[in-house]
Structures are given as C-alpha cells and as structure tokens.
C-alpha cells in the first residue's frame, strides 16, 4: 500500500468517527475484498467470511474515534478480522483448529499428489499452501499477499517480531515437506 493511500485511509477513519457514512462506503470499497480473503483463509467458509466482514467494518464504524493512527488502517482491519475469525471458529463446535482437521478438509478434494498427476506444479503449490496449519497459513498470507512488514505482522498476530520471522521460516519448511511428499522438487531445501 502506498503512503498516500495509508494517509487517506486515516482521513477516512477521522470522517467515519464523525458519522460520515460515505467515508465508510469508500473505506469498505477499498478494503473489503482483502479483509474477506484473509477471513476466508482462516474460517474456510464463504458465508461465515461474509458475516465476518460485516462485523469487522461495523467495529470500525463504532471504534473509529479510538483509532490512534499508530499503525496503518489496513493493519488494524486485519487485526480485527483475525480476532473475529478466531472467535467465530471457537463458536463453531464442528470445526477444529488443529492441523488434522485442516488436512481432512483439503483431502476430501484434489490433494497435492493428484494435482501433480496433472503435471501442474503451480496447482500443487497452491494446494500445499492451503494445506498448511491455520497458524502457518495466516503468516504466509500476511507477508506474501497482504505485504505486511515484520512489525505489522507482529502487531496483527500478537507475537514478538523474532517469532514472526521464525514462524514464517518453519511455515516455509512445512510447505517444502508437503511439496516433497507430493513429488515436487524445487531446488530448496
């Protein structure tokens, strides 16, 4: 995100704090897709993810006056989304947060091995990215897709900066193992 957009997000939040509905529409238009995708990757259910974005932006509407601008608005939005997603997962008794459940959901469809049979390495990579644990998935998404810095990820996830770096390394290590199991050699490790 550019510095200009980050600054103008701050202006929108100031206007939202004063009850400006139009500013809310602009902010929503600007960020709702990324918020939705981040939420969807965590909760794995489109309906739940859609409910999630309504809740996230409603929180923004209510809390805009308390936003102090210490971080980017997009970082704040992702932190709220993560909190809401984890709360939602806790409420859903049929969904477990552990790796096994995540793998079971993926295994029901096209697994990495099948994807390789299609001779599509890119597809296998995406399948393996999906098969990562929620903890690893979110850190990979935040760094690669949402382009968040070490400091911003630390703020969103609520962990020390060094843990951000090591967690991402081990997420990549796990990804390499999954790909290897699917027969994909990439030259590293």
């Amino acid at each position: 995100m550019s510095t200009t957009q980050a600054a103008s997000d701050g202006v929108l939040i100031a206007r939202i704090a004063q009850g400006d509905r139009l500013a809310m529409q602009v902010l929503y238009g600007r960020h709702h897709v990324r918020v939705f995708r981040f939420g969807l990757r965590l909760v794995r259910d489109e309906q739940v993810a859609e409910d999630l974005i309504s809740e996230v932006f409603l929180d923004v509407w209510r809390q805009a006056g308390k936003f102090e601008g210490r971080s980017a608005v997009s970082t704040w939005l992702l932190a709220i989304t993560r909190f809401k997603a984890l709360s939602s997962l806790r409420r859903r008794k049929d969904v477990e947060l552990d790796d096994e459940a995540a793998h079971a959901i993926e295994d029901a469809s096209d697994d990495p091995e099948v994807a390789m049979q299609k001779k599509d390495t890119g597809e296998a990579l995406r399948k393996c990215l999906t098969a990562l644990s929620p903890e690893h998935r979110e850190i990979v998404d935040l760094v690669y897709y949402h382009e968040k810095s070490v400091e911003e990820v630390a703020e969103i996830v609520g962990i020390p900066e060094n843990t951000v770096k090591t967690r991402l390394f081990y997420a990549r290590k796990k990804l390499a193992e999954l790909l290897k199991a699917a027969g994909v050699e990439r030259g590293w490790p």
């Binding site: 489109e46 990215l129 382009e147």
Partner: protein
C-alpha cells in the same frame, strides 16, 4: 541434497529469515541492502530466494482466486450501521485524526501558500534573532584562541556535486527507491516533472568519467527506466 537436509536441520540464519520480507519489499533500506549483499555472495541463499519468489507468486494466485464477497455483506453492514444510535455532533475524533482531517480539508493551493508564508515567517524570525544577538555582543569581544593549523572553513571542492534526471520503473516500490538512493548516496532534489526526478550524488564534485560511470551503473538498475545527466 545432503547439504539441503543440513540446511533444514539447523537453525535458520537472520538473513534467511528476512528473505520472504525482501521478496515482498517490506524491509527497510538497511536490511534490504544486507540481504542484497548476502544474495550476491551466497548461491545457496540465491537458490532459496528463487523458491521464495515462487511461493510469493503462488500465494498471490491462491488469494486472488478466492473471489470477492457478495453484495449481501455490504447490505448487512449498512443496515447495521443505520440501526446504530445516531452520533452526537459533539463527538470528536482523537487529536491526531482531527489534525489529519484538518490538513486534508485544505486545497493543495492553500497548503502551498501556507507553506510559503510559514517559510517567510521562519526566515524573518531567524533574521530578528540574528540581529538581536549581534547587537547584544560586547564590542570588545575577542576570540580566546585561534588554531593556525586547521582551516576555519572547509573547502567545498572545485564544483557542485553532479546530478541526474531519473525515471523509475512503474512497478518500483518506495523501499526499492530508498535503497537505490542509499546505494548511490544520492538524494532527490527536484521532481517529479514529467515523471522525471532530479537526483544529486554525494556532496562532492566528480570528474566527467566518474559521472559517466555512475550513470551507466544507474541505467542498469532494474527499477530505473532512464538515467541521464541533468543539464
């Protein structure tokens, strides 16, 4: 392969852990330079970086394939907002937000005039303070000592530092531009005008050959589309 296995078994180095952030362009200029230097001298690290770029592209592809939410989410949100109690007009946002909103409400012309007026006022103030200080000096004042070995003023060299007009690639990131400026000890002194920035190298004059060499090197940078000597 044995080497690779070893790499996974040991603790990752600091530079290895920074590689994904470097690929995403989220490191500061100093860290970015460290990673660049390490990549240039370590082929194993460079191989790992190539893999990271694949992961990066794969993650973007995966997320982009997730689609977008339906209009239902927006309708639900604004229905909830409409149902919220109306805000009191006295409810003001925090101080920094108010300051941001105030400056955002000014037109660029107003901001430019305000800036100019502020600069003039600062100069006037400096002049007044200077005049007061000079007038208050006792007329019999003399320096206590004077070294004859060191010059009182530093030589500014034969001429001004050279400058160039540069156009950056459209996809160049701010962090990459900052790193580039650091690398050449350059600073932006003007622009953009017609997409061109005027940058100045260091703080000393250079020979014609030195300038030509710097410009050739600069032109070969991947985030630079054009680099020519400034007239």
């Amino acid at each position: 392969m044995a080497m690779s296995k070893k790499m996974l078994d040991r603790e990752p180095s600091e530079i290895e852990m920074l590689l994904p952030f470097h690929a995403a362009g989220t490191l500061n200029a100093r860290e970015s330079r460290r990673v660049d230097e390490a990549l240039a001298r370590d082929p194993e690290l460079a191989r790992q970086y190539a893999v990271i770029r694949e992961e990066y592209a794969g993650t973007i592809h995966l997320n982009e394939s997730l689609g977008a939410p339906s209009a239902r989410a927006m309708h639900k949100l604004f229905a909830a907002i409409d149902a919220e109690p109306r805000r009191k007009s006295s409810a003001l946002p925090n101080f920094s937000a108010r300051v941001t909103a105030f400056f955002a409400s000014l037109s660029p012309r107003t901001l430019a005039w305000s800036g100019s007026v502020g600069a003039v006022l600062l100069l006037l103030q400096a002049g007044v303070i200077g005049a007061v200080l000079v007038n208050n000096q006792p007329s019999t004042f003399q320096t206590a000592s004077l070294s004859n070995n060191a010059p009182i003023t530093r030589s500014l060299g034969a001429g001004a530092p050279p400058s160039a007009l540069v156009r950056f690639a459209p996809d160049a990131r701010a962090a990459e531009i900052t790193a580039l400026l650091d690398k050449y000890q350059a600073s932006v002194v003007d622009g953009p005008k017609g997409g061109l920035f005027q940058i100045q190298f260091g703080n000393r004059a250079m020979t014609k050959d030195e300038v030509a060499s710097v410009l050739t090197k600069l032109q070969s940078e991947k985030i630079v589309s054009l680099a020519v000597a400034a007239p």
